[in-house]
């Protein structure tokens, strides 16, 4: 039978790229290889429409797409080959999964006829990535490809976001089918709840008005649902103090009078003491991670808990919740605002008790602010403070993992959401630099920093070539203490200073290393050089590596020993 209006036949490669364009993708991070050669060949025809960033290691591609996604809110896209190409992205995928970052990872696969034969560069990618993706697909028929791409983007970007992987065998990318991109999508087994239950939301509002010492404990959900404005409105309307997880930083302005800092293992004295004395805690898009709660039975003292989260499985997982609200943070906060708009009298009557509560919290803040002692050696905290001052809190800050990450979280005062890129859940060393590259690709004119350690920067240092090739002026500030600093700190505190294999006896000369890649290298050995180095770096439109030679045995404080209640802080 001859069909009327026969649609154009296309190869799987062309279908894939056309589908990406339909999803509004303009940038992909990738690395070619045998199983994706068909796709790369087609990509050559689309050079003017699709910006492909060639990384130097597939892990870099995954983190760069992740950084791009976190900074923009769009879905990050990765394209790599089968086998080692796919396995190299695993750390990046797991990082994105733990932090709920929307990504679509496209991997090549050996031809369908060879699957299961231990073919060259074959790996069971779908099997390997099953536990670290929100969902994944092996495309078995080119006719399914367009629908699968549509579903993948839908799943990645809705509900609790996450990475979705599409594994495409080589024959599928050359087979042809009609291209018919679905306009809409309906999945009977996937329907995220966006609108919170009205009765539950009413209860939260009532409890907020009744409470003597309410507190909002915000997390990454505020940022992924773009709810910062609503949050600020509610907080200011009710004079609600805010504490934040690492992932929530930027969701509320750090310099705001109602903000009392990060809570948890390296949280501020005010945040940890405050939340322990609160009588009503509303978790907003946060998930009671062990680094936040410390000894979980004692978290929040005797307070009542409400929890707003789009993922029902986050609610009640670690802490018993009195008022669960399943829904998108932004939508739930909007409902709360609506309810509150009719309650101006009740709001007014809370003013006195709120004033007392804020006074108490400000006293904690005043008693033990974040601090450090200046010496004639550079202090890491000083470097971060200077970066904050010189960028006015407007930079995008990526971090690696360890002390550098905690100092960045403590001493950079984030003004805006999507300005901190950090691996909070998986804690991936080597994340920051490629993530900064991804953010810089998205925002060529913004200042993007990677605050790094001398250990973690070496985990993806090869991406310097990528930054230079695409003229991405990422600023890398290496807090160089010749140690795996956080490991050293734990060994100092909990292992009687037995520094077992945590000293990096040999490091490259980071200045020369930068120069050899065609980037700029700068070094500061003394506190008075820090500002000059940073100013110079900021004046150069090129990738710059700054080597800050800092005090070797500086620690991150406050610190709560693992498993202890968060009120038991070691202070400076």
């Amino acid at each position: 039978m001859i069909k009327e209006n026969k649609k154009q036949l296309m190869t799987g490669s062309k279908i894939l790229i056309e589908s990406l364009l339909k999803e509004g993708v303009d940038t992909i991070f990738g690395y070619p290889g045998g199983a994706v050669l068909n796709i790369y060949d087609e990509l050559f025809n689309y050079r003017d429409k699709l910006n492909h960033i060639l990384v130097r290691h597939e892990q870099g591609a995954a983190h760069a797409a992740d950084g791009y996604a976190r900074a923009t809110g769009k879905v990050g896209v990765v394209l790599v080959t089968s086998g080692p190409g796919a396995t190299n992205t695993i750390t990046g995928i797991a990082t994105a999964y733990m932090d709920s970052v929307p990504m679509v990872i496209i991997t090549g696969q050996v031809p369908t006829s060879l699957i299961g034969n231990d073919a060259f560069q074959e790996a069971d990618t779908v099997g390997i990535t099953r536990p670290c993706t929100k969902h994944n697909y092996l495309v078995k028929d080119v006719g399914d490809l367009a629908r699968i791409v549509k579903e993948a983007f839908y799943i990645a970007s809705t509900g609790r976001p996450g990475p979705v992987l599409i594994d495409i065998p080589k024959d599928i990318s050359s087979n042809v089918a009609e291209f018919d991109y679905p306009e809409s999508i309906e999945m009977r087994s996937y329907n995220p709840t966006y609108f919170g239950h009205h009765v539950q939301i009413l209860k939260v509002v009532d409890e907020l008005l009744k409470a003597e010492k309410p507190m909002l404990y915000i997390g990454g959900g505020v940022i992924s649902s773009n709810a910062s404005n609503e949050l600020k409105e509610i907080a200011e309307m009710l004079d609600l103090p805010i504490v934040s997880t690492l992932m929530g930083l930027g969701g509320f302005p750090s310099e705001h009078a109602l903000f009392f800092g990060m809570l948890g293992m390296h949280g501020t004295y005010a945040a940890n003491t405050g939340i322990s004395n609160a009588d009503f805690i509303v978790a907003v898009g946060s998930r009671f991670d062990d680094r936040v709660t410390g000894k979980v039975d004692e978290f929040g003292g005797k307070a009542k808990f409400a929890h707003i989260d789009i993922d029902p499985s986050s609610i009640g997982k670690n802490v018993k919740i009195d008022i669960p609200v399943v829904g998108d943070v932004k939508s739930v906060l909007n409902s709360m605002l609506e309810i509150l708009s009719l309650k101006s009298k009740e709001i007014e009557s809370t003013q006195y008790k709120r004033m007392k509560w804020l006074e108490e919290l400000n006293m904690y803040k005043y008693e033990h602010p974040l601090s450090y002692k200046m010496t004639d050696v550079i202090k890491p905290q000083f470097v971060v403070e200077k970066i904050y001052e010189l960028t006015d809190g407007d930079a995008i800050i990526a971090t690696e993992v360890g002390q550098n990450q905690m100092w960045a979280a403590q001493f950079y005062k984030f003004k805006n959401p999507r300005s901190l890129l950090t691996s909070g859940g998986l804690g991936t060393m080597g994340y920051g630099f490629p993530a900064a590259i991804g953010a810089q690709v998205a925002f060529p004119n913004r200042t993007v920093f990677d605050i790094a350690g001398d250990g973690s920067i070496q985990m993806n240092i090869q991406e310097l070539a990528t930054a230079v090739q695409y003229n991405l002026p990422v600023k890398i500030a290496i807090i160089n203490n010749n140690f795996l600093g956080m490991i050293r700190q734990w060994q100092e505190l909990f292992y009687e200073k037995r520094y077992s294999f945590s000293k990096l006896n040999v490091n490259p000369d980071f200045v020369k290393l930068a120069e050899s890649y065609g980037a700029v290298g700068l070094r500061a050995n003394k506190p008075e050089q820090v500002e000059d180095v940073l100013k110079t770096a900021l004046s150069i439109r090129k990738p710059v590596v700054m080597d800050f030679v800092v005090a070797q045995e500086e620690g991150v404080y406050p610190m709560v020993a693992p498993g202890y209640p968060i009120t038991g802080m070691l202070l400076v």
Binding site: V126, G127, R130, P131, K134, H135, L138, I155, M187, R188, S189, Y190, D311, P312, S313, G316, K317
Partner: protein
């Protein structure tokens, strides 16, 4: 909280890899699978899994929520003793000689089991019943001499409303 057995009925999309997703979730999150039975339903694109697991109410809640996160899972339901019919099926090969045949027939009658294979010195019995009856059946058969035994996981269905 009290730990006990739970039977979950999980309706899933009939796609390759779904069993691996469900099983993987249980192992990754440290939940137990005591028994599992999977088969298609009347709908071509659906399968039903009946999983027996063990834990307190909070664990059960987490299992249910985590299962619901899987894209291919359509519906998760806990089936309770009171509101559902539960069955296991067993095939057991027993020694059958002149001294034991009478006993085998007696047990078969009592439990309404069936003899589905007969050879010179062994019978295969098929029995279907609740987990409790299954235990009683095995206890009675055991002294006769069990050569081999194979048991399905529990299958279960809700009772109609009375």
């Amino acid at each position: 909280m009290m730990e006990k057995n739970h039977i979950l009925s999980i309706l899933v999309e009939n796609e390759s890899g779904v069993l691996a997703r469900v099983a993987g979730l249980f192992s990754a999150r440290g939940f137990n699978i005591d028994g599992i039975s999977v088969a298609g339903t009347l709908e071509k694109d659906e399968s039903k899994m009946i999983i027996s697991t063990y834990g307190d109410e909070q664990i059960l809640e987490q299992i249910t929520k985590q299962l619901n996160r899987l894209i291919n899972v359509i519906k998760v339901q806990e089936l309770t003793d009171d509101e559902s019919v539960m069955r296991q099926t067993i095939l057991v090969k027993v020694n059958a000689d002149d001294s034991t045949k009478n006993e085998i027939f007696r047990i078969k009658e009592i439990f309404e089991a069936r003899i589905v294979d007969v050879s010179r010195n062994a019978y295969v019995l098929e029995f279907s019943g609740s987990a409790k009856k299954m235990e009683a059946f095995i206890e009675l058969i055991r002294p006769i001499g069990i050569k081999d035994i194979v048991k399905t996981g529990t299958i279960a269905i809700t009772r109609s409303k009375k």
